[in-house]
Structure formats: C-alpha cells, structure tokens
Amino acid sequence: MFDNLTLARIPDGDDDLRQLARKLAAEAVAEMPLDRRARSWSGFDADFSRKLGAAGLLGLTLPKQYGGGERGPFARFVVVEELLAAGAPVAAHWIADRQSAPLILNYGTEAQREFYLPRICRGEALFCIGMSEPGSGSDLASVRTRAERTASGWRVNGQKIWTSNSLASDYMIALVRTSGTSEDRHKGLSQLIVDLKTPGVTIRPIEDLAGDAHFSEVFFEDVELPLDALIGEEGQGWQQVTAELAFERSGPERIYSSVVLLDGWLAHLRAVGRSDDATAALVGSMIARMAALRAMSIACTARLAAGESPVVEASLVKDLGTAFEQDLPLAIADDLASHPEEPVSDELRRTLEYITLVAPSFSLRGGTREILRGIIARGMGLR
C-alpha cells in the first residue's frame, strides 16, 4: 500500500545551498542559548528572514519571474533542514515561504503574483494562516467568519484564533464564508488576503503555557477589503485550503521540532562520557526513527517535485513524525532523571522543560493526530 511513496534521494544539484544556509543559520544562533534555539519555528526575527531572502534562500519553489529561485521542493527541503537543525529563528518568513506563496502562485491573478511574490522572496511580506476559529478547529468547514460583497469589494466580520505570528505579520490568508451558512459545509467558502493594517482588524495575543505569545485572536469588525483581496475563485475556498494544507503538512519541519533538544542531549552524553549499552540503545532507537522519517519526508518531497499534492502521504509522515518529536522529550527526561549523579547544564534543562511543555502542540497544529489518521484511512479505502 502507498506504493507511490518510494525511496528518493536529494538530487545532486539541489544540495548546493546547504552550506550557505548552514552558515547563515550558524550566525543567527551564535549568541542564542539552546532553549531559544529550540523555539526555531516560533522564533521571530524579521532581519534574519530578510537576510535569507537577500541570499536567495526564500521562494525556492517559485519561478524566477517573481523573484524566486525556481529550484523546486528539494532545494527548499535542504535549506529548511539546515535552518531547523540549527534552531534558527524562522517564524517570520515561515508561512509565506511554505504555503502562502505556492497558494498565490497557483490560484492568484497575475497582478496578485506580481504584487506579493517578489516581496515574499525578499522576506519582506510576512503572512499568517487564518483558518481556525473559536467554534471551528478540526471541523474547518464550519467557519463562520463572513465576507459580504459590497460595491467596492468585501466587508469582513468574524474572528480567527490561534493565528501564529499574526501580530508581526503583514497579511493573513483567511478562510471565510462568502455565501450560504455553516450547514453548506464545503460550499460557499473562499480565501481572502487580509492586509492586517486595515481598519477594523484587532489582534489580541494569547500567552502559551511556556510564557510565549506567538499566536493570537484576530477580530474583524466591518473590515473593508478591495475586490482583489479574493484569492482564487469565490466558492473554491475548500479545494484551495486543502491544497494549501498539503504544503503545510509535507515539509521536514514535522520531524525536526525536537532536534535541538536531541543534539543537546547527545552533547551532554558525550561530555559526561556515557555510552553504556542501555544508553547507546536508547540513542540508537531515536536516530533510527529519525532516519526512517527522513527517508519518508524525502520521498514525500519527491511527490511534490513531481507536481502532485501528496495529501495522504504527508499525513503519514506528519503523524509518525510528531509521535517521534513527542517521544523525544519524554525519553530524555527519563534518561536524565535516572542519572542523578550527572551534572546537567541549565541550558539543557530549560530546553527539556520547554519542549516537554509544548510537545502536545506538535500533534495539534496543522491538523490533529486523529484528523490525519482519518485522512490516511480514507486513502486506504476505509471511509
């Protein structure tokens, strides 16, 4: 089953940006303690993102015509892998580079492409994802935020929640209802690009359990948007958001959320000189899972490179990947606590504590474990 997911290798030419990405990432994290690096995905640093843009490391899947690198998903895989392995602060450009840009490329008008894409490639247009609402989490089709046609464009009312990085973003791509009611489900949904500086938009940050405030509530009160805020076709929002989610779910980030902790722990073991059989077996079990996941993630990248939208395959990788990411802090906590005689640096302790607290979110954000398994089951012909 899933025979189309076969072994793939990163093509030779696509590895050439690795050293550059590694160098820039190393510079960005040079002064950062381990626990800040562990925040990688939610580490916001607009300067760093612009630096990546200037170096040609953003928009790698976009055509040159729009300022992209015209390199494809493998080159992006390589760069993203390096940034995450180093724990570089990628949040600022993350969403735009990963999913908003491909969405605009695929569904946008020529004018929209020319307006947004070059700035995304320079790391200057920052995007966030406006899908979830207080009453719509997994059941995304039930969104109630509404956009009505006006003489000059759209008027938006409603609320989004858990919107990562919205406070510092320029734009949100919001899934809204443009006709019908929640009962119409997949019909009548559309996607709008909301300039977050538009009057009527209020953003209220939400503090998370680790004390960070990377996500927010976003309120829309009679927000007037121009006609060309619509991206793609009116009423096609569900199809578009499904394609967008395939980009969101298929990247290497779904296996590397805890990699900074893993490397911190390996450094600890080497420093104290512990490599007995039991420790080695534990280390080996983790690296073996990571190897399998990397092979799966590269195989998935090959499907993207072939122009497919590997929704089911990406769900396989993400579900297995987040389980791995979540098991790491638990196993490492047990290991360290079972060797009380060893000195453990404060940095490593803080990193472990941080990852332990946020790990449950790994299998929530981007679609919950249960939802992903449902998608896989559908791919297996069970529903």
Binding site: M1, L7, A280, G284, I287, A288, D319, L372, L382, R383
Partner: protein, 251 residues
C-alpha cells in the same frame, strides 16, 4: 526498471510454489527440494551472482523487491539466503546483507498483513456496517500503515547501492523492521478478532513469521545499540550523522 520486470514473474512463481497449504506443510518440517529446484531452474538464485560466475550480476538494490516478495508469500528464508550466498559478498558483508534481506522480507510480510487486514475490515460486518467504518479501527489501521511504509522505505534506503550494505545501514534496517513488528502484528490480530487466532486462517502464517524474523540475527535493541555507539563515538550532530553515515550524502 529492471526490478519491476523481475518482480512480476518472481511473484507469479512464488504464488504457484508456495500456496498457504504448502507453507503450512513446510512449517511442519516438510522438505521443499522440488520447489527449490524450480526456483533454481528459473535463474532467480543467481541474480546477484557475478556475471563471471554465470550470474546476472545485478546490484544489491535490485534484490530488495524480490526479498520483500519472499516475505509477502511466506516463502522459505532459504531462497533469499541462497541468493546472497551466490553473490559472494565475503563474510562481513554477508552478515549485513542478510540483515537487510530479513528486513525486506519483514517489509513484505507487513505489507501482506496490511492488505489482508484492510480488506478484512471492509468485509466484516458488525453493528450493521463494516468494522472498517468504525473510527477506532480506522485509526489503528492508519498507524499500522505508517509503520509499514516506514519499514519499507528504510529497507529501500539501507539496500540502495550496487554492493552489499554496510553495518550501520544494515543495523538501521533491521532495527526499524523489528521495532515495527509488535505494532503491526498486534493491530492485524486485533482487527481480525477470533478468526485470526484459528490455525486454518492465513493471518498467523505471517504474524508468526514476523515474530520469528524480529528475533533472527538480533532484534531492535541489539541493533539500536550499534547505531547509538557509532553516533556517540563521534561529535556529529544527529542530522549530519544521518546524512554522512546512512544517506550517503557526504562524500
């Protein structure tokens, strides 16, 4: 590709030679020289043997799909072993290639279990609908599929190359395959209910093999140990180590 052209006739032969009834007899110690003679005559035992020795001289990677087919048909381990023997890889390499062969057979058997279990879930009706319509069953099958794909891709990764795999890749394949066995076998049995426990139902032919092959040449903890020792011995970070030692991305 060469592999696919080989695979189809090979599978056809295995299906003919090793129907479940025959597998049961062989499991009860029946001799299988006739079958072996037929496989010999087909030329498949020589696909890895050097051309100088009258073999086909195919790369190791070409045999992975055939090993998996052996597992999918519950065919005797001896066939794969004979293929490896004739490859003439030398002692250390033989051990590594046997590990990857076993892992590939496990991937094949897992694949067969996944197909059987999914089909059964769509057929068996309880509470007025197929049990596969129950979300709890679907979720378990999804997890089973994830592990089957993980094993298959890891085996393909470990077996990728013209020559026999090195020790680390062999350990990787066998550890990932062995780790997945309890989960795959348990879900397969759980979804099948009591029928899967009966001797005459074919499920047990495959779960029995997975448990035996998990232990053969060392189960997961032993191979995790070698991977862990190697990783801890140097100072490479995890991703760099994987790229260098397993993915062959750093010359």
């Amino acid at each position: 590709m060469e592999t696919n052209e080989l695979l189809e006739p090979f599978e056809r032969m295995l299906a003919k030679l090793f129907p479940p009834s025959r597998v049961r007899e062989i499991d009860s110690s029946a001799e299988w020289q006739d079958e072996l003679a037929e496989v010999e005559a087909s030329g498949f035992l020589d696909i890895l043997a050097p051309e100088a020795n009258g073999g086909a001289g195919l790369p190791f990677s070409a045999a992975i799909a055939l090993f998996a087919a052996l597992g999918r048909h519950a065919a005797p381990l001896g066939i794969g072993r004979a293929m490896l023997e004739r490859a003439g890889y030398g002692e250390a390499h033989s051990a590594n290639s046997e590990l990857v062969m076993l892992s590939a057979m496990m991937a094949g058997a897992g694949d067969r279990l996944l197909a059987m279990t999914t089909a059964y879930a769509n057929e068996r009706v309880q509470f007025g609908k197929p049990i596969g319509r129950q979300q709890a069953v679907q979720q378990n099958l999804a997890v089973m599929a994830e592990h089957c794909v993980a094993v298959r891709l890891t085996v393909e990764l470990a077996g990728d190359g013209s020559g026999p795999p090195d020790g680390l890749r062999a350990a990787l394949a066998k550890s990932v395959a062995s780790t997945a066995v309890p989960l795959i076998a348990n879900i397969a049995h759980s979804v099948h209910g009591a029928i899967g426990i009966s001797a005459e139902y074919d499920l047990q032919l495959f779960t029995r093999r997975l448990h035996a092959w998990r232990a053969e040449q060392g189960s997961e903890s032993r191979h995790h140990r070698s991977l862990g020792k190697s990783l801890l011995a140097g100072d490479a970070k995890s991703v760099d180590w994987l790229r260098a030692e397993i993915f062959d991305e750093i010359a």
